[in-house]
C-alpha cells in the first residue's frame, strides 16, 4: 500500500515590523521576543521623521505596525491640558497612519496595524493607568479603517490588555492584584508579554486577517466583557 503524504509549506515571505513609540516598557519587553521570529525585520520608529525613513523598508510579505501609547492615566490626569494634548496626539497619530497607508497603497504592499490599548474594567483592581477616551477613539478608528481598507489588504486590530506585569513592578501592588483577582480570574498574576507575542505572531502570519477590525481582550479572563 502506498502512502502519499501531502506536505504543505507556507511560502516564506519577509515581514517588516515597525515599532511606534519604541521606548515604552511594553515594546521594550516585547522587542527580544519579536526578534526571535523568523523572517522578520524590526524597525523602531520615532515620530515625526518616520515617513521617509521607512519608505525603503517596506516588505512585500507584510508590514506590521505596532502602535504603543505610553498608557496615559486619564483617571487621574483628565484635565483641560490633557484633553488638548489628547486631541493633538490623535491628530499626529492619524496623520502618520494616513501617510503610511498612502505610501504602502502606492507601492501595492499590504499593511497591518496593531494598537495596544487598556481596559477600563481594570480600574478598581489596583492603581493602574487606563485611558478610556483614547482607547475608545482608537477602537472606533480601527473599525472604520478595517471596513474601508480591507480590499486594499490593510488590517487593523486592537489588543486590549489586562494589567501588564512590566507596569506593576511594586510587590505590594502585585500582592493587592493577586488578592483582588482571586474571585475573577484563572491566573492571579499580571499579564506577561509572552502571550502577547504569540498573538502578534499569529497576526503577522496572516492567520487573523478575517477578524480584522477586532478589539481583542488579552489576558486571563479577568476583565473580559470589554
Amino acid at each position: 500500500m502506498a502512502v502519499w503524504v501531502l506536505r504543505i509549506e507556507k511560502a516564506i515571505t519577509m515581514t517588516a515590523i515597525f515599532l511606534l513609540n519604541a521606548t515604552t516598557p511594553l515594546i521594550q519587553e516585547l522587542f527580544p521576543l519579536l526578534n526571535e521570529m523568523p523572517d522578520v525585520r524590526i524597525h523602531p520608529i520615532i515620530l515625526p521623521e518616520a515617513d521617509t525613513a521607512v519608505l525603503n523598508e517596506f516588505e512585500t510579505g507584510n508590514n506590521v505596525f505596532l502602535i504603543s501609547t505610553p498608557f496615559f492615566d486619564e483617571f487621574t490626569d483628565f484635565n483641560p491640558g490633557y484633553a488638548a494634548f489628547l486631541l493633538e496626539y490623535l491628530n499626529s497619530l492619524v496623520a502618520w497612519i494616513q501617510q503610511m497607508v498612502r505610501l504602502l497603497a502606492q507601492q501595492g504592499k499590504p499593511g497591518t496595524f496593531i494598537f495596544f490599548t487598556t481596559n477600563p474594567n481594570v480600574r478598581g483592581f489596583l492603581k493602574y493607568p487606563i485611558s478610556p477616551i483614547l482607547d475608545e477613539s482608537l477602537h472606533a478608528f480601527l473599525k472604520t479603517l478595517s471596513k474601508e481598507l480591507h480590499s486594499l489588504n490593510f488590517h487593523f486590530y486592537a489588543l486590549c490588555l489586562e494589567p501588564l506585569q512590566c507596569l506593576v513592578k511594586d510587590p505590594i501592588q502585585v500582592r493587592t492584584y493577586r488578592k483582588k483577582m482571586a474571585a475573577h480570574a484563572m491566573s492571579k498574576m499580571p499579564l506577561k508579554v509572552d502571550g502577547i507575542n504569540s498573538i502578534i505572531r499569529s497576526i503577522c502570519e496572516g492567520n487573523l486577517s478575517l477578524v480584522s477590525g477586532s478589539v481583542l481582550p488579552v489576558g486571563y479572563g479577568s476583565v473580559l466583557g470589554y
Binding site: E74, F75, F78, N79, P80, A83, A84, L86, L87, L90, N91, V94, A95, Q98, V101, R102, A105, P120, R123, G124, I130, S131, P132, I133, L134, D135, E136, S137, L138, H139, A140, F141, L142, K143, T144, L145, S146, K147, E148, L149, G213
Partner: protein, 260 residues
Amino acid sequence: MGMDPCWVIKGNEMTAKTVLVTGGTKGIGKAITVEFLRLGARVIATYASDHNAAEQFKLTLSSDLNNRLWIKQCSASDYQETVSLCQQIETQWGQLDGVVNNAGINSDSLFLDMELDAWTKVLTANLGGAMMTSLATIDLLSRNSKPTFLINISSVSGLYGRAGQANYATSKGGIIGLTKLLARKYAGRNIQINCLVPGLIGTEMADDMPPGKVAAIEEATFLKRIGTVQEVAQAVLFLAGTGGSYMSGSILSLDGGFFK
C-alpha cells in the same frame, strides 16, 4: 421602595431644573431643548456659529417656553468660554441640574482622501467639545445638593466604525470612552453620567447624505426607517429622569436595530 405608577418621568420632575444643551438650537439638540422646556425646565441652549438658526428657533417657540430659554453663543470646545457660561448660569439661577453634550459636526470622506483640516475640525468640535464642556461643568453639577445628570450624545459610528467617517467615528468613540471615565471618576458625586448612541436620525446631517445611502441604511435597519429627533429627545429625558436613576456609565443604543 414605593414608586409612582408611572415613574420614568414624574409629572413635575423637570420643573425649575436648569439644563445646559450644547448645540441646542439645531437638529437633535433643538428637539432636546424643546422637550426639556415642555416639561418645565429652564434651558441654556448653546450654538457655535449659526446665529440665524438660533434666531429662527426662538421665533418658533411660545412666549412661555421662550421665557425659560436662554440661547448663548459658546463654543463647546472652548474651556474658558464654557467656564464663563457656568458662572453666568450660577449667578442667574444658582445651580445647574443637567448637561447634554450634544454639539457635533461631520465632514465625511474616505480616509485616504481625508484632509487633515477636516480631521482636526471634527475631532475638536465633537470630542474636544464633550471633554471641555464636561470638565467645565462638572464642578457646578457636583455642588448641586440634588442628583444631577450628564448625558453624552455619541453615534453608532463610534461603536462600530463606519466607512467614510474615520474622523467622526473616532470622535464619537472617544465620547463613549469619556462617558466610562467620567461615570467612574465622579460616581461619588451624585451625577448620573450616561451616553446615548443614536443611529441615523432625520437631521440636516441625513439630508446632506446621498438618497441612495439613506435608503441603504433604512434597508439595513430592523425597523426599516431612520430615527426622528423626537425619539432621541425622549431617550434623553429617560436618562435625565427617574427612569435612569440606576444607570451609570451606560451606553444606550437608539438605532432601530441597525445592522452593524
